[in-house]
Symmetry: C2
Subunit: 439 residues, 2 copies
């Protein structure tokens, strides 16, 4: 029998700034997942990690232990190559809905497992569930069957995937231990490792509308995740992308699905289209589907132009029990009963649209959830009529509110305008794609 | 109705290095004591305190909140002046058993409430309970009656005294959050404030045999406790005293009681007698019972010489149901069945006796407890036959083992010798009393 785990001693050593060994972290995570280490000891340990940080080796060991805490799908042993794409999340970020079908249409299979997540607007799964009939709760077998048949599957993470992460995240949320780059990296990467793609693209959002506010923090997180992915045999690239104003025009679940469909048809907003092409080209080149990113970009543009990208989305919707007609007729998506335009109170160039404020307001309309048990209204949200750099004349539409009622719209209208800044001169433009980080 | 306490926000702010307000700390402690804040949140908060420290104001507020978490005895509103004396604890530290009766015999009432405590040897209460028949679990009324009638009471802390401290200490013990000077100060002083003496002498032990290993840490703790005591209207003085070798010769509960009695009779070891006179003189002068410490010392020496000091101990033993004859006949105390001398393996001056090692060995013989539910054997322990600076010839007695059996003695004999260092030259001598700290 191994000696019993001395958790107090592990906490004490970490408190002193020591790095714990891989076996110690594995034992700690196993014992915690099994309920043999109480939450109060784990909470103290988590705070020492926030305080002292973790080495790359520690973070990798922790991530592997978390990935091993439940079922490992190892999709790359079933289909190879097989890609995954993850975003750290931003307001209006519907890129997964564009990139996954686009990459698959270009010949690289994509197994995308997503969480529901808390936040102002729903996660990818919440967005997908705005599509009538679509099922995302798939068994492992269903998931693999759909992936093999269609080169694409969009599924909800089951609770058996890295259960240690679910338990740890719930504890971090109530103990102010969320803000730790190693813990964030381990949380994200443990689920990716449990899925086990061969190629992984990480979109690390940075800016006022993202969880990572500074480029330095985002870069550190990206480097760490790339190292962890590489250590686990997954070819991993991270892109740092700007998140100051919302991405695209649509913020809200069904609105974002409609915008993703438009983008796959070649009619999407410039920023969404541009980033989707960048990410698709990166993944195709990573997996050697194309000789380089320029060719990857051409291939992606072609898949949009010839309709194969949007057809791939329709195909996977049908395979997962949804009505593929929604792709041709986005008006079939849930639609808010109260829709009104908020008009610009002045004339000028839009200098800033505070993504976080926009997200918070969409959340108040019912687009997101604060607690796990909250339900999301797929129909509601905001539709930006102008983006940063656009000139708007006073009295012209600035943003449309899609609300469950006029009273709900009344409750956010004034607040909405505080998210906007105008200027007399066109503001300087900044690229969306800031950095590419790989091993 | 007040807004609900946002504990996550309090943890987050402390994590960022912010000082919390008095009302916030009070609310936190009330809610925790009532079970409305879970252990995992408290554990995370405790670790932020270990990390970030606390200001004097924060520590004072925390201490007051902990003191207010249960019954407040406020003894100084019943008897005034009334003194208390607290030691942070060291190996062989039986000073309370000497100083409390000595101070009382000199005309300053003493209300001494003690804990049982974990450690190598018992706390003051465990030592007292080596006296046949003596009761220390007194009601508030019994305690006050004995204090008024005899100017002295030696009682066990009830669980209603600062219950927040009991709950917090248990949590700190299992989350590696014991080692924090503000938390240590708050733990000690919350109980002192709940008792409420008018004068308080703190003996802060420093050295290898004490919890505080460095003079800097001990000084910081002493300053903090003096400030807290003074803020609460208690005249407080702290003495930093050295704890490298054990204090006196006896280590073990009944052995220490016997040595305390001998000291009250004027036959105690020089170090115990010296420190007892220092502490008694300090308390008498603090409370203006004597014009200055020199007079206080003379008064104490006189109380020893005229027998009034030892008579005061006999008086309180009788008042608390014990047999006062033990004072005249210490052989009535429990006595270990196996007693043997360990002989010095070489000749030389004793250069060092590792107090912590001696304490640990006494604990292994049964003199202390590792867990709350352990029982103490009052009879066992160690009796030093020589102290640092003494010359011992090879084959002469070094230390006597008082064990429950010869097998128990066999188990510690070799280990015992590793606590000793010899030298050819007499070692330099160091004073026991290092510093006096007051407001």
């Amino acid at each position: 029998m191994p000696p019993p785990l001395n958790v107090v001693e592990l906490i004490r050593r970490k408190r002193g700034g020591e790095a714990l060994a891989a076996a110690e972290l594995t034992d700690l995570i196993i014992a915690y997942t099994q309920g043999d280490v109480p939450d109060y000891q784990m909470a103290a340990w988590l705070m020492t990690v926030v305080w002292r940080g973790m080495t790359v080796d520690e973070t990798t060991s922790l991530t592997l232990a978390m990935a091993d805490s439940g079922e490992r799908l190892s999709v790359r042993h079933q289909v190879s190559p097989v890609a995954d794409k993850h975003s750290t999340g931003g307001v209006g970020d519907k890129l997964t809905l564009v990139v996954a079908p686009l990459v698959a249409a270009c010949g690289l299979p994509v197994a995308k497992m997503s969480g529901r997540g808390l936040g102002h607007t729903g996660g990818t799964i919440d967005k997908l569930e705005a599509i009538p009939g679509l099922r995302t709760n798939l068994t492992r077998q269903q998931m693999l069957d759909i992936l093999r048949a269609h080169g694409l599957v969009l599924a909800a993470q089951s609770a058996t995937l890295a259960p240690a992460d679910g338990k740890l995240y719930a504890l971090r949320d109530v103990t102010a231990t969320v803000e730790s780059i190693p813990l964030i990296a381990a949380s994200i990467m443990s689920k990716k490792l449990a899925v086990g793609p061969s190629h992984l693209l990480l979109d690390v959002k940075v800016g006022m509308g993202a969880f990572m506010k500074s480029v330095d923090d985002a870069r550190e997180l990206a480097h760490l995740m790339v190292k962890i992915g590489s250590s686990a045999g997954i070819r991993t690239v991270a892109l740092l992308t700007a998140m100051e104003q919302p991405l695209g025009n649509a913020v809200g679940n069904a609105l974002e699905v409609a915008e993703a469909i438009e983008t796959l048809r070649g009619n999407g907003p410039a920023d969404v289209a541009e980033l989707a092409l960048d990410e698709t080209a990166t993944l195709l080149a990573m997996a050697n589907i194309v000789p380089g990113e320029d060719t990857g970009r051409q291939r992606a543009e072609q898949a949009i132009a010839d309709g194969s990208a949007v057809a791939k989305l329709a195909e996977v919707i049908a395979a997962q029990g949804g009505d593929p007609a929604v792709v041709a007729t986005p008006a079939m998506l849930p639609r808010a009963t109260w829709r009104e335009d908020v008009l610009s109170p002045k004339s000028g160039y839009l200098a800033a649209i505070d993504a976080e404020a926009i997200g918070r307001i969409a959340g108040r309309l019912g687009a997101g959830r604060q607690r796990k048990e909250d339900t999301i209204d797929p129909a509601v949200g905001l539709l930006l009529r102008a983006k940063v750099g656009d000139y708007v004349a006073a009295g012209n539409p600035l943003v449309a509110i899609h609300a469950p009622s006029s009273a709900a719209a009344d409750g956010v209208r004034d607040n909405l305008l505080t998210a906007y800044r105008w200027s007399d001169q066109p503001p300087a433009t900044h690229p969306l794609l800031l950095e590419r980080i790989e091993r």
